[in-house]
Every structure is written in structure tokens, then in C-alpha cells.
Subunit: 117 residues, 2 copies
DNA sequence: TTCGATGTTCGTGAAACATCGAACAAGCTA
DNA sequence: TAGCTTGTTCGATGTTTCACGAACATCGAA
């Protein structure tokens, strides 16, 4: 559980972001985080093994989409909305709208607040 | 050289588009086509073998980003701007702006009109 | 019909990716 | 200290992607 690397705003690449968002589960994670609230790892529900979830969260982090904070043995994750807006204005908005329309990533939800139908 | 398949507007998926745009060469192709003009296969210049270029154009076509028309032995390709705007409003604009800023896909150009520095 | 131009497809590797379970590390807590 | 919780890392596996050259198909022109 060593310190994870986060790219600087300027280091975030378009193709990196696109690649990160080419998987429904990761899109779902981004959607869940879209309200800007920080979430604990454990709150996130996705139909994959925990090692796989860890992998996806790492991909998002490496691409610069999310920021991870560690507190004791827990991890918290938050969407880098401002950074993304600075870097690629309008992109996140467009992606989230599109994902919303098609309900992409619906497999992912937050505990205590199951995605409403 | 059989008839290629093009997805309907409604069949275009977000993740498909994202995946298609996660490669710099394909982003470059989209940029080159961004002005809405139809281009001949042969006009497109990219630093890859022709079979590879064919592959990339196929990925773009399958993802619903471009439309291919055949005329005799020639092929022409055009960006499906309207369809994309209908399906994912603002997405293409945001991606093109971002790509422009970082000059992603600069390896790709059009014959007779080398990408200006 | 033969040739040249233009794309597609095939066969093939190398690399990347998604996924899992198992093993591990690190920090609480009893 | 021992055990639990939480998340990471490892190794294996199967799939997909990117890349190339070679072979093929198709059409127009000589």
C-alpha cells in the first residue's frame, strides 16, 4: 500500500483519458463520483473481484481522472473535476451526459445509495 | 473489398467512441476530417503501413465515427459530425479542442495540404 | 486480357488489457 | 501479540489491439 502516483494537471493526456473511459466499469465509477463527493473504497460496488476493482481505480488514478487519499488502512477517492475542466474544457460534461443517456456503467453503485431507477 | 458495416446512430456507443479515440493516429485522422470534407484514402498520410491504416480506418468506421463510401476502386471517408452531435452532444467538439491544444495526432496529415506548423 | 492502382484480409508476433484467486503488507483492535 | 480489515501486488489466463508484410480482390486503363 505504498503512495500512489498522481499525474500533474499538465501531464494528463487526452488519449490517456479516452483509454481510461473506454471501459464501462470505469465510466460507472466516474459517474458515481461525478457529484464531487469523496467516496471510500468500500462504498463502491461493482460486479468484479476486489483486485479487479483495485486495478480499475488505479487506471483512473494514473490517467489523472481521480485522486486517491489514504487514511490509515482506508482509501478515499475523488474525481478531479476542476483539473479535468482546466485541461479539457467540456469533455467531462459531455462524457457524463452521454453516459447518463445510455446508462453506461450502471453496474457500479454506491452502498447505502443504490443507483435509483 | 466488400461492403463495410456502419452502425446506426443509435448503435454508436460511448465506450466504443472512447476506445476509438484512445489512439493518437486515429485522433489525428479525426482531426484531419474535422472540417467535414470527404477525403480519399490516398490523401491521408500517416506513418504506418497501409494495412495498418486500413485497420485504423476500420476501427473508426466500426465505432461509428466515420462513414466510408466506395467509388470504383477508390474509397472516401467522411466524419459523421451530425450523427455524433446528435448522439453525444458536445463530445466531438471537446475532443477536437483538446486534441488541438496538445497537437495530438500531428503525425497524420492530408496530401497537398501538409498540416501547417 | 493483362497490368497497375487501391484497399482488404490473412497470418503472425508483440504488447496491452481484464479478470480472477492467492499471497502479501499495513494499520487497527482486542 | 494475534487477528481482522483493507487494499495492493503477483502470477496465470484468455482476449483484444497494433503492427507488419504478403497475398488477394476489384476496378479502370492500356
Amino acid at each position: 500500500m505504498r503512495q500512489a502516483h498522481h499525474p500533474e494537471v499538465g501531464e494528463i493526456t487526452l488519449t490517456g483519458v479516452m483509454a481510461a473511459l473506454s471501459d464501462p466499469i470505469r465510466v460507472g465509477l466516474v459517474r458515481v463520483l461525478a457529484d464531487g463527493r469523496e467516496r471510500g473504497w468500500g462504498e463502491l460496488q461493482a460486479p468484479v473481484a476486489k483486485s479487479t476493482l483495485s486495478h480499475h481505480l488505479r487506471v483512473l488514478r494514473d490517467a489523472g481522472l481521480t485522486r486517491t487519499r489514504q487514511e490509515g488502512t482506508r482509501c478515499f477517492v475523488v474525481l478531479r473535476r476542476h483539473d479535468l475542466q482546466d485541461r479539457f474544457p467540456g469533455l467531462l460534461r459531455a462524457v457524463l451526459d452521454a453516459a447518463e443517456d445510455d446508462d453506461i456503467g450502471h453496474q457500479v453503485s454506491v452502498k447505502d445509495a443504490p443507483r435509483p431507477t
